[in-house]
């Protein structure tokens, strides 16, 4: 395959994505933020607070 042929062929979609540095940056940040950070923090935030009697018993 020579250079010219290379230029005429349409570039595959995946390759367009993979060549776009800023798009990659966006995808990397978003996937991580959703699955790791936000999902994780939401789970921690919904842990019920320790009942007062038990807390008092431990701290006693």
């Amino acid at each position: 395959m020579n250079e010219q042929e290379d230029k005429d062929k349409p570039v595959p979609a995946l390759q367009v994505v993979m060549n776009d540095v800023m798009l990659l940056l966006f995808l990397g940040v978003t996937i991580y933020a959703i699955f790791y950070l936000i999902w994780g923090i939401m789970e921690i935030a919904t842990v019920p607070a320790i009942p007062e009697e038990i807390k008092a018993a431990i701290l006693k």
């Binding site: 990397g28 940040v29 996937i31 699955f35 790791y36 994780g40 789970e43």
Partner: protein, 555 residues
């Protein structure tokens, strides 16, 4: 201002060259500090000597972790990013002033952190889990360092964008630089996460905030602590490709697949941070399993692709150079006299067989419980970030000294054996730490005999053997690392000047010739090695599940 390199033909921006040099020097200084602390730790954990008292043990563990894992690695990576975005692309450094600012911030942060740790104001381990509290200046130091590094990474992006604009490079970046793009993207994720967690913690240490939630702290901190390891992996793999190219004229036998592997890193690898929270009660199994299994295996797949692509590119190039006999002539006749090449191959082997296998096994919810918080964990990452990343960085430095510092390598014979010494030292250290951990020996523990404690524990008697082995491996690694540091310092400051290609001690190979005839598969030797790796992995996997089953009786 450019000079044209008479060895590689690259146009080298002198500003860029200076910044690369200074960042590299800081990296070497950090590594030196780290290994001095390391040898003291080795002889503290080795109970017959038990060198330091408890306070200094924890202080120097903190110091070792920070200088090795953060300062050495990040300074070196910034140097690498500048190299990959200017020299390799014949590109001008976009803003030397900001380059200097980045360096000043990083050095300032480095000094602040190290001083605070050494004067006993930050005995919090490098993870500084709240509610452990350090002096505010410690957190400030980390923040300054991170801001400086983030600035450096932004300059990398600006250089790459400029290079595309100036048509110094086409739409598709060279594979080495593409890998660095992956590293830089992960670095942005990491450093942003760092800001999210260190800024509140800093304010808390100043008394401006009441408290920082420990569960959230740990989750966000590991988004920084683990993801940053993936910067290392991407940078390391990129250097493997670069070295194959420099030493043999080899290129990936399927570049598109190699690129796709970097793409998978960008998308999925940071999720694996969740393996640090596998025993934490606050998050659900769904969160843990999604992040450490399903998503992470896509990143593991990427590592396997690289682990196959790098040796196969070596094999393919060697075969085209005529080393075509049998399955392994290409390996036997590989350029073992080239220390950069040797380092990369050894790093690849160690990373795969020690770091990779244990990483997948320890990162799984079930088998993690056997080794959680034991010495097996530092044992595992000695197999990734030390035998892999550190050895790789050491190796490529053998090219940077003549090409960037324009000096010959002093005592070159020593340089040729140094990678082997370091490899065997760390391999022994790492495997014995893993064995100790599997037997239940805790990490970050000053006295594992628990003397004077309210309870005690009798370990399997074989631990004594592994303690000795760990001490020997650690000492060997220390000596090897020291040789490297001395060699770099002496060469850079006192070595004879490089005046042209005739002074190159490490060859730069022309592109390997095209294959004369196509028959059969291009890299059968690598295929055999890969199968060997998979068998090893399966055996270790099996042993760990068996071990888990034997830990508790189910009646």
């Amino acid at each position: 201002m450019f000079r044209t390199c008479d060895i590689t033909g690259f146009k080298v921006d002198l500003n860029s060259e200076k910044l690369i040099r200074l960042n590299a020097v800081m990296a070497v200084v950090s590594l030196l500090l780290a290994i001095i602390a390391a040898i003291l730790l080795i002889f503290t954990r080795y109970q017959p000597v038990h060198l330091l008292d408890a306070e200094w043990y924890y202080r120097l563990t903190t110091f070792h972790g920070l200088n090795a894992l953060i300062f050495w690695i990040v300074f070196f990576e910034i140097a690498g990013l500048y190299f990959g975005s200017t020299v390799v692309l014949n590109q001008k450094f976009c803003s030397p002033v900001l380059g200097w600012l980045s360096l000043i911030l990083m050095v300032g942060g480095f000094l602040l952190v190290d001083v605070m740790v050494m004067i006993g104001q930050a005995d919090v381990m490098m993870t500084s889990y709240v509610p452990l509290k350090a002096h505010p200046l410690y957190y400030l130091g980390i923040i300054l360092f991170a801001v400086g590094a983030l600035l450096g990474v932004s300059l990398f992006f600006a250089n790459v964008v400029n290079a595309k604009r100036d048509k110094n490079v086409g739409d598709t970046l060279p594979l080495f630089t593409y890998g660095l793009v992956a590293a830089a993207i992960i670095a942005v994720i990491t450093l942003a996460t760092g800001a999210i967690i260190y800024i509140p913690t800093f304010l808390w240490s100043l008394g401006l905030i009441d408290s920082v939630d420990p569960a959230v702290y740990k989750l966000v901190w590991w988004g920084l602590g683990h993801s940053s390891q993936q910067i290392n992996v991407s940078a390391m793999v990129s250097i493997w490709y670069l070295t194959t190219f420099l030493a043999l004229g080899g290129t990936s036998i399927n570049e598109r697949v190699s690129r796709t592997a970097f793409f998978l890193y960008i998308l999925f690898i940071c999720l694996a941070s969740a393996h640090h929270l596998l025993t934490d009660p606050a998050t659900s199994s769904a969160w843990k399993v999604w992040n450490t299994s399903y998503a992470m295996y896509l990143a593991v797949l990427a590592s396997m692709i690289h682990a196959f692509a790098v040796p196969s590119s070596i094999e393919s190039a060697q075969r085209r150079w005529g080393y075509n006999k049998g399955l392994f002539e290409w390996l036997a006749k590989a350029p073992w006299s080239n220390p950069a090449f040797t380092s990369c191959v050894l790093a690849c082997i160690g990373f795969g067989f020690i770091g990779g296998t244990t990483g997948v096994i320890f990162g799984m919810e079930q088998t993690n419980i056997i080794v959680h918080n034991t010495l097996a964990i530092p044992g595992h990452f000695k197999g990734t970030v030390v035998i892999g990343t550190t050895l790789t960085f050491m190796g490529i430095t053998y090219y940077l000294i003549p090409l960037i510092f324009r000096r010959k390598i002093v005592a070159f014979k020593l340089a040729q054996i140094q990678p082997w010494l370091f490899f065997f030292g760390i391999a022994i250290l790492s495997v014995s730490m893993i064995a100790l951990g599997q037997l239940g020996v805790p990490r970050r523990h000053w006295d594992s005999t628990f003397s004077g404690g309210p309870f005690t524990h009798t370990f399997n008697p074989s631990v004594d053997f592994f303690w000795t082995l760990m001490m020997l491996g650690g000492s060997l690694a220390f000596i090897a690392a020291l040789i490297w540091v001395l060699q770099v310092v002496v060469s850079v400051f006192f070595g004879p000047k490089v005046n042209g290609p005739e002074d190159m001690q490490l060859p730069i190979s022309p592109l390997a010739p095209a294959a004369k005839e196509h028959k059969g598969y291009e890299a059968p030797g690598t295929l055999i090695l890969t199968i060997l790796f998979l068998i090893t992995f399966a055996v270790l996997f099996f042993i760990n599940w068996k071990w888990l089953a034997a830990t508790w009786w189910v009646k």
